[in-house]
């Protein structure tokens, strides 16, 4: 908005839009992400999901050899070709639903018992809830890691480093889990804190490097991911971490005391970590919306110059937010190490760090949105296992659907065009003002 110099600038273009109230020109990448997080209506999100499901269905159908064969006979039996395609996609999605939400057959078999206690004893009841349990278990690390990305993003930082922070948390948590004998309850809490601290330490490094040297957090987090992956491999090969009697890279099991308790009996994998994740989401929400620290984070994220002018320490916020974000990603490791696997391998970090970005974007960097997005991804993943197990549809289709959802959300104009929605941006300024996404 400066007028000095007076060369350059794009006055005529901007001047054609009387509703353009946006000041300055933030970097392009940030614009895109802001657009993803703020610019989409519910309708776009739902439409994106629907579009992804439809395209995923086409992929399922037309990679199925049975369907392809039916279509090669299209002229002879066109009805059959369509029926086969429909059966293939619908069957896969049905299996996905059974694996993620509820399987009617488990309900039916539980109803065969004439007493409730008998149904419980045979495990038929828990079988009913197994899909939901799996969804929650799959979602738990994504909630933590997604919150990590969302929190950092609200302070204007793009945390690609979920992987390194996960590993930091996992290493400390696992070591505390098997190496330090402690009584029940206390041990689990100490390990939980360890997971947070381990991740927070890595996050702090990122924040400190950005604050003190100006290093871009995206570069730093990506590089730290490599560093931590190799550090993990190396440490798991040392006598301090490696399970005795094993030559591969795996730690001893953590103590029973350090494990998080199951919530619904041993046959369901859902455990206390899920509740901790929900509590973390509530905590992040409180931090962002109800605390002075969150106020600073949001100010720094929305307009660092104004935040600085108002006397806030922008660099201090960066360090703090990355520390907390790292801790949250570390808690994702707790979900895996304390909740389900009870051990750590050189591959335990999986793809949580990357999926978390998608989850946070889909959840619009809001805690509740992140939880819901993580549950959606957890459901897709849990359903994907059933889908592949039952129909041999490659589990990769789940990844494709996830990617398509994000792609459609990242391309609102495309979605709007597909569904003939009139974009808020194309409308007059009144609509833009009335929209009001201030969450």
């Amino acid at each position: 908005m400066t007028e000095q110099g007076g060369v350059g600038g794009s006055a005529p273009r901007a001047s054609t839009d009387p509703g353009g109230t946006e000041p300055g020109r933030p970097p392009f990448g940030k614009v895109i992400i802001q657009a993803i997080i703020q610019g989409n209506s519910v309708v776009v999100t739902v439409a994106a999901f629907a579009a992804a499901i439809v395209i995923g269905g086409l992929l399922i159908a037309f990679t199925d050899p049975v369907v392809l064969h039916a279509w090669s006979q299209f002229t002879a039996a066109p009805g059959n070709a369509f029926a086969q395609a429909w059966d293939s996609a619908a069957g896969a999605y049905a299996a996905m639903f059974e694996g993620a939400i509820i399987n009617p057959h488990t309900v039916a078999s539980a109803l065969q018992y004439n007493s409730i206690s008998a149904a419980f004893q045979t495990g038929s009841v828990s079988a009913i809830f197994d899909p939901l349990s799996e969804t929650a278990v799959n979602a738990t690390p994504l909630i933590f890691a997604g919150l990590s990305v969302a929190l950092a993003f609200r302070a204007g930082l793009f945390n690609i480093g979920g992987t390194s922070q996960f590993i930091g948390g996992a290493l400390l948590a696992t070591w505390l889990g098997f190496g330090v004998p402690l009584p029940l309850v206390l041990h689990a809490i100490v390990v939980l804190i360890g997971a947070f601290a381990g991740g927070a330490a890595i996050g702090w490094v990122v924040g400190a490097l950005k604050a003190w040297t100006g290093a871009h957090e995206v570069i730093v987090t990506i590089m730290l991911n490599y560093v931590m992956i190799y550090l993990l491999s190396w440490l798991l090969g040392t006598s301090a971490m490696q399970r005795p009697g094993r030559a591969d890279l795996i730690t001893p099991f953590i103590d029973g005391n350090a494990q998080l308790p199951h919530l619904a009996g041993p046959s369901l994998r859902i455990n206390a970590s899920f509740l901790i994740a929900l509590a973390a989401a509530a905590g992040v929400w409180w931090l962002l919306q109800r605390s002075t620290i969150g106020f600073e984070f949001r100010s720094v994220g929305a307009n660092p110059r104004a935040a600085r002018t108002a006397g806030m320490s922008v660099t201090g916020s960066w360090v703090l937010v990355m520390t907390i974000a790292g801790g949250l990603a570390g808690l994702a490791a707790s979900a895996v190490v304390q909740g389900t696997d009870h051990t750590l391998t050189f591959q335990s970090y999986g793809t949580y760090g990357i999926d978390a970005i998608t989850v946070a974007l889909l959840g619009r960097a809001r805690p509740l949105g992140t939880v819901l997005a993580a549950l959606l991804f957890g459901a897709l993943h849990a359903g994907g296992v059933a889908m592949q197990g039952l129909t041999q549809t490659p589990v990769d289709i789940v990844t494709v659907i996830q990617a398509l959802i994000v792609m459609f959300i990242a391309a609102p104009p495309l979605v709007r065009a597909m569904f003939r929605l009139r974009g808020a941006r194309a409308a007059g300024p009144e609509q833009a003002l009335a929209k009001g996404w201030n969450g």
């Binding site: 739902v46 049975v66 057959h105 799996e134 090969g237 591969d248 509740l368 819901l372 359903g383």
Partner: protein, 363 residues
Amino acid sequence: MRQSVRAAAAISVLALLAAGCGTKSAAGGGGSSSPSPKSGASAFTACMVTDTGGIDDRSFNASSWQGVQQAEGNGITGKYLQSTSPSDYTPNINQFLGQKCGIIVTVGFLMGDATQTAAKGHPSQKFAIVDFTYPKPLKNVDALLFNTVQDGFLGGYLAAGMSKTHKVATFGGQKLPTVTIYMDGFWDGVQYYNAKHHTNVKVLGWNEKTQNGNFTGDFTNQSKGQQLTQTFISEGADIVFPVAGNVGLGAAKAVQQADQSGQNVNMLWVDTDGCVSAPQYCKYFISSVTKGIQTAVKTAVTAAHNGSFKGGNYVGTLTNGGVGLAPFHDFASKVPASLKAELNQVKTGIENGSIKTATKSPV
């Protein structure tokens, strides 16, 4: 905002519901829990859980799946589930536990824990695990391990005998026991050749004594394999033995480039017969250091089907044909008869125990 996301989630659940209901009417018929046309009611299903490498890793997942496929027919059908992260192992096994599989084959040592837990919880379910063994054998698990130090030893001896530059090289994908056991054998084989022929053939990339060497870091990034192999070649190695799955293709590319620029460089392939799994590079493969995952898995599946399943640990050796050198193919005429004869002697020596094959990896 919150309401909107909630609505989004609700609608997505509806969408899933719609998909679920849709099947009922469309797939219709028997109401079978499995819409797959392949699975019949009485069929014996061999269910395989891959590790994160997936079914196309040109390595143990692929070999295991080939074993399952070879066992198919005669009432046996195969299906698989792919793990995308270690956290998938348990749910994937659980998924198959709920499907009345004749046998559940898990691939890779990383699934050792999950398989053990499942096997103890379901004593009547038959399992097989590839590349792993239990200190206390389990009755319902066929643990299939391969003593590849033995054929690695043969490979090292062969490489030492074929090297003109008196330098050979090996490298791994990651420092894992199933990888380093090959490299141990290779290193030992070279040392044995040196002792016998009073030569000084050097091994680049691994040392059995210190257990240190070169690794590319994963089993997928071919360019790293190519880079590392180029380094070895520039250091004078003329035979390279990559123990790194698909990364070996990068090594083959480097060898091809060296060959095209007039250098005489060749290599050994690993796990499978390279002239079958990567035929485009067959002319550079002196031989391949293989392990018989396919056969072992096929045997386990067939045994579970026909009732001869015993459980316990199986170790593939030179003697039982579980490991061994592949045919020489293009090099059949180039490997001297004397060296072939020596290889046979060494093989006999390993089999009868007169030649010790040391390895720090568990066998």
